[in-house]
């Protein structure tokens, strides 16, 4: 039997009724396709969410149901083969960002994102991970960073940021309340984020720290679908938090890392007792409401500005109100919503590790055209978001399509309009 089939069987066994009942509920109505940016932008039926979980259905039915076994015996259904692995590796890794928008339109409410993640897990177990993802994971295992930034290089970078922006980055401070965990995207592409967050923390009078051990919050294990690697990377963060004795871990601007730490970890590893996991978007709201930071009202009110909902921070993360609260202060007359928005927001197309796979570039840019349409519809040329992965996809695409947009990070906006 093929390794993937085995892995999928194991997956159903492990997840049990939770997955089985959802697979049983699917009516194969195809409605989920209409929500997926990869299907909408390409018209390729293979990118419909229901098809992306097809391997899982086949494995499940062939192993766990009577009718499935009957179908296999009669030859109506084919067992999973090597060429299937090739096909599904491409569609599940390169044409799915695990954004879970599809689950919002499925009439049965099937959690397609999780099921597709399960298929990725099986493919990973069978060694069928796209080369770029695999390389990045390997680097994260060895150097502690998917971009290959080892501890020395990281320290140099920290020094440079402190000099460049004249801020203080508290590193490895024992007993701090909050440990901020950054992504390598911020480290390499948006280093100013460190400075912005430092400014905000200082303004709020928060006792905080950055850990040199838990310095990388991106979890390539999650992108791969590999539980083993996911756990390995999660542990690095939790071990660091335990060592420093912090009360909470604050994920800065990364959606997938937030998903892994906030929603997945508690069922996967032993999270230190009493440790809270939160996201900067939530913390900004908390500081504002407690009056710990004040923003210059109308500081960004000179032009239309809109907000891009990140799938893992808004739809799957719950921080829908805070960014809007901030925007309503900073641009009371010029903040406009894209449609659809909030939990129904359209994904940027770069999440789920897609942006790190070279072969997926075209699909990713095609998907981004939906965002361009949304922006054009309201005529906005400024957009902000709370996820660096989205922000990278936006800046990259703006370059690709040669657009004259301005892209902001949420913390950036807050830091730049702090009332002294």
């Amino acid at each position: 039997m093929l390794a993937t089939q085995e892995a999928l069987n194991q997956f159903v066994e492990d997840t049990g009724g939770w997955v089985a009942s959802q697979l049983e509920a699917c009516t194969r109505c195809g409605m989920c396709a209409e929500a997926c940016h990869f299907y909408i932008s390409s018209g390729n039926p293979a990118y419909s969410p229901v098809w992306k979980m097809e391997l899982l259905r086949r494995a499940y039915e062939g192993r766990f149901t009577l009718s499935g076994r009957l179908k296999l015996a009669l030859g109506i259904e084919k067992p999973i083969s090597d060429s299937d692995l090739d096909t599904w590796r491409t569609i599940d890794y390169e044409a799915c960002t695990l954004c879970n928008r599809c689950s919002q339109v499925c009439p049965m409410g099937i959690d397609l994102g999780s099921l597709i993640h399960g298929v990725r897990g099986a493919l990973a177990a069978a060694g069928e991970v796209p080369k770029d993802l695999e390389d990045a994971t390997q680097k994260q295992i060895e150097d502690g960073s998917p971009l290959g930034v080892d501890l020395d290089a990281w320290k140099d970078r920290m020094d440079w940021i402190q000099d460049e922006w004249e801020v203080k980055l508290p590193i490895d401070v024992k007993g701090a309340d909050t440990m901020a965990v950054f992504t390598s995207i911020e480290l390499m592409k948006f280093p100013s984020n460190f400075a912005y967050i430092a400014k905000i923390m200082e303004a709020a009078g928060e006792s905080w720290t950055i850990s040199s051990k838990g310095r990388e919050v991106v979890n390539f294990g999650l992108f791969e679908g590999s539980t083993e690697h996911t756990i390995l990377f999660l542990k690095r963060i939790f071990d660091a938090a335990e060592e420093l004795g912090v009360k909470r871990v604050m994920v800065t601007e990364c959606g997938h890392a937030y998903e892994a730490l906030r929603w997945t970890s508690f069922n996967l590893v032993q999270v230190p007792k009493g440790l809270e996991v939160t996201h900067i978007a939530g913390v900004l709201g908390e500081f504002l409401n407690a009056g710990r930071i004040k923003l210059k009202a109308g500081a960004m009110d000179d032009n239309l500005i809109t907000f891009h909902d990140a799938c893992k921070i808004q739809r799957k993360g719950g921080h829908i109100k805070e960014p809007r609260q901030i925007l309503n202060i900073l641009a009371p007359n010029n903040f406009v919503e894209m449609t659809p928005n909030r939990e129904d927001g359209i994904c940027c197309g770069g999440g789920g590790g897609v942006i790190s796979i070279k072969e997926a570039d075209q699909k990713r840019f095609d998907a981004f055209e939906l965002k361009i349409d949304q922006m054009n519809e309201i005529g906005a040329k400024r957009v902000t978001m709370a996820c660096s992965n989205c922000r990278l996809q936006f800046t990259d695409s703006v370059q690709h399509f040669d657009l004259d947009w301005k892209i902001y990070g949420l913390s950036q906006m807050v830091a730049e309009s702090l009332e002294e």
């Binding site: 159903v12 997840t15 195809g30 097809e54 009439p107 409410g109």
Partner: protein, 212 residues
Amino acid sequence: MFEVALIIFVGGMTYRLIRVLLLGWGRDRVPAMGSKTVGVLKSYLKGILIWPFIPWVKDTFKRNPLIYVAGGLFHLGLFAVIFLGTAHMLVWKSLLGFGWPTLPLPIVDWMAAVAIVAMLALFINRLVNPVLRMISGPAEWLNWGVVFLPLVTGYIMAHHLWFGYTTLFSLHMLAVDMLLIYIPLSRISHFMFYFFSRTIHGTEYGKRGVMP
């Protein structure tokens, strides 16, 4: 024959249910941000009220209105016929021992017609829509046929069109028996698993404090 079919139906569905339940359910240890109960409630309300009866709240509706409208009307018509048609209510009464008020015949009749037309539209849609063509195998076509037959024989019977009443009654009963025996073997059983997936959906979104 009807009794046998009924027993197979109930037995088969129970087997399916137990099979899934016995696969085990892990405990969720994730600290919630919102209320799971609220999420579940909203999920059902939205699933039943907004989808599919006021579906234009979603942008996806605009992308494929036919599947929403036809899918919604088909289910609505089917439920009306099965539960609110007098003839069927009497069958239920003989099985359950109690009855309930039903809709006037012309209304049920119209709803049956709507369900039939919707089913035809769904059939054609399955033939032409690229996604549906890709995900449809023999099972999907059979599902359609097995549901369509009782509906259409019942309709013809109620209208005394063609053939004699007794022939049509036997045909209708045969179709119903087939349906009952076939449901546990197929995806038509989704009406049972609907409650699982919707509850899971609501729990997940509620836990995250997001509108499901």
